[in-house]
């Protein structure tokens, strides 16, 4: 993954904006921002952002590559779409934030311990495995992502909820074994593999 990054640095030298336009979902919109800041003010988790979206756009133009890609900020996005519907320039800000996060993640620059990054990975692996979410497996993995002890503690903290969910029939105690998933899971795996190939080819990631 590290060389993934260096190859991109070599490819785009110091022109971070071009790099973003080429490699980040909806990245071509970054240049359209007029710095009004409505996105920054509209984010429900705003105060948690070290750099709000409009500032990130400015940083991209200013070529502050490392700062942007290593930032925790994009990971604060709750996908509420407030910024998108209010942006006077119609920038798909939510998607750009997702795209930046994903790109940083692909380059291995995203903060290692960022919980959302880790949750997102586990979540995707979970659905990629069977084609559908296995909620029990998902939660169990989450609890134990910091090791067994932490997991047990977190599990205990959450046990009321868990039990409540089971009692009300909204969590399958046997999900780890009984979860069905999609029939054509083989096809889905091949399909996703292909999708990754294409995306990597397009964005010039080294295989």
């Amino acid at each position: 993954m590290g060389d993934q990054n260096t190859s991109m640095v070599q490819k785009y030298r110091n022109d971070f904006l071009k790099e973003v336009e080429a490699n980040v979902e909806e990245g071509a919109w970054v240049k359209m921002c007029m710095q009004c800041g409505v996105c920054a003010g509209s984010c429900p988790l705003g105060p948690a952002w070290e750099h709000p979206p409009q500032e990130i756009f400015m940083m991209i133009r200013a070529g502050r590559r490392e700062e942007v890609l290593k930032s925790e900020s994009m990971w604060m996005c709750t996908s509420c779409y407030n910024c998108i519907v209010r942006c006077p320039r119609e920038l798909p800000i939510t998607h750009i934030m997702h795209g930046l996060a994903n790109y940083a993640h692909r380059l291995g620059l995203a903060p290692k311990m960022n919980p959302t990054r880790r949750f997102a990975k586990i979540f995707w692996d979970n659905i990629a495995k069977s084609g559908r979410v296995n909620e029990l497996e998902l939660s169990v993995r989450l609890y134990f992502m910091d090791g067994f002890k932490a997991g047990v503690l977190k599990g205990l903290a959450m046990k009321d909820i868990g039990i409540g969910m089971m009692k009300t029939g909204r969590l399958n105690p046997f999900g780890l074994f009984a979860h069905k998933g999609c029939k054509d899971i083989k096809g889905i795996h091949k399909m996703l593999k292909k999708a990754y190939e294409i995306e990597d080819r397009k964005k010039g990631f080294v295989a």
Partner: protein, 303 residues
């Protein structure tokens, strides 16, 4: 022949014994009363949800949704795709939207799609709609009122719309900041809507519920608190992510903030099922962690 028929995308959370199974139960009862037939998309897969981005990236996410839509086009010809889950609806709709405006991406999606079984090609023939959309636009409030036999008299209910059923697409004719359709639905089932409720579109932080619990719970606190402030005794929502978050973490929030929240959070479909004369079981009320007692009482009344 039912009066309306749709290609149905239930989504992971509404599977049996999943977090929104109670939603599913009530939707089925509601649709039966309204004579709506839902044809499930065979072997549908997860939409990837919004959180899928980090690992999923762009194309794989769209491909996941394209697969569902392609199957639907193949099997449920000529029907609109209907989703009950906000995330599923949004994921599918976004894919339709992007692929419609980006022929390159469309070609790539289909290239990947060919790898899957059932030799699928996505054409973009079918509309992707949310259940609420269908109720309001295809049936209309008047039609929805007709079957009411058990008006939920005296109940004050706050309509919590949340994010993804509302933004960026939303329901036609509704504003992003102050959508009124839940209030209308509450009205037609005979309850009193809490129209002043000012947190109706506040994000519950659902996507970050696991990774940033304290941040998302701070959001939930606002949402529940305001409902109490405006005198609501129940929150109703169209979104399973919202429902789960706002309902199940109240206990933790009480611990964290010393509040005494005990606010039932139900789905519109549960209200309608009860109002239409359905039993508590048919309305999936047994699936509530915070029991919706008033609603259960009404459901217990013989119609």
């Amino acid at each position: 022949m039912a009066r309306k028929e749709y290609s149905f995308y239930p989504g992971c959370s509404s599977e049996r014994r999943a977090s929104a199974s109670n939603y599913m139960v009530s939707v089925e009862s509601m649709c039966k009363k309204l004579d709506i037939k839902l044809n499930e998309i065979p072997d549908w897969n997860c939409c990837g949800a919004s959180i899928g981005y980090a690992q999923g990236g762009e194309l794989p996410r769209h491909v996941m949704n394209a697969r569902n839509l392609a199957i639907s086009e193949q099997v449920n010809k000529g029907q609109d795709v209907v989703a009950t889950c906000a995330a599923c609806w949004l994921g599918a709709k976004e894919t339709k939207d992007r692929l419609a405006h980006d022929s390159g991406l469309l070609a790539e999606a289909n290239e990947a799609l060919r790898e899957a079984g059932m030799n699928l090609t996505y054409k973009g023939e079918q509309e992707v709609r949310h259940m609420v959309e269908v109720l309001i636009e295809d049936l209309g409030y008047d039609e929805l009122k007709k079957p009411v036999v058990r008006p939920l008299e005296g109940m004050k209910i706050a309509g919590y719309v949340g994010c993804q059923t509302n933004r960026p697409f939303g329901i036609a004719g509704e504003s992003f900041e102050n959508p009124k359709y839940l209030d209308h639905l509450v009205e037609i089932v005979g309850a009193e809507p809490v129209t002043g409720y000012d947190q109706k579109v506040t994000c519950c932080g659902g996507a970050l519920a696991f990774s940033e619990p304290e941040k998302s719970q701070a959001q939930i606190k606002k949402i529940v608190e305001s409902a109490y402030d405006y005198g609501a005794e129940m929150i109703v929502t169209p979104c399973p992510v919202c429902q789960m978050n706002v309902e199940i973490y109240q206990g933790q929030i009480n611990k964290r903030y010393g509040t005494k929240f005990n606010m039932p959070v139900t789905y519109y479909s549960q209200l309608m099922t009860v109002a239409y004369g359905g039993s508590a079981k048919e309305a999936g009320l047994n699936g509530q962690i915070v029991r919706a007692s008033r609603l259960e009482e009404i459901a217990a009344k013989n119609r």
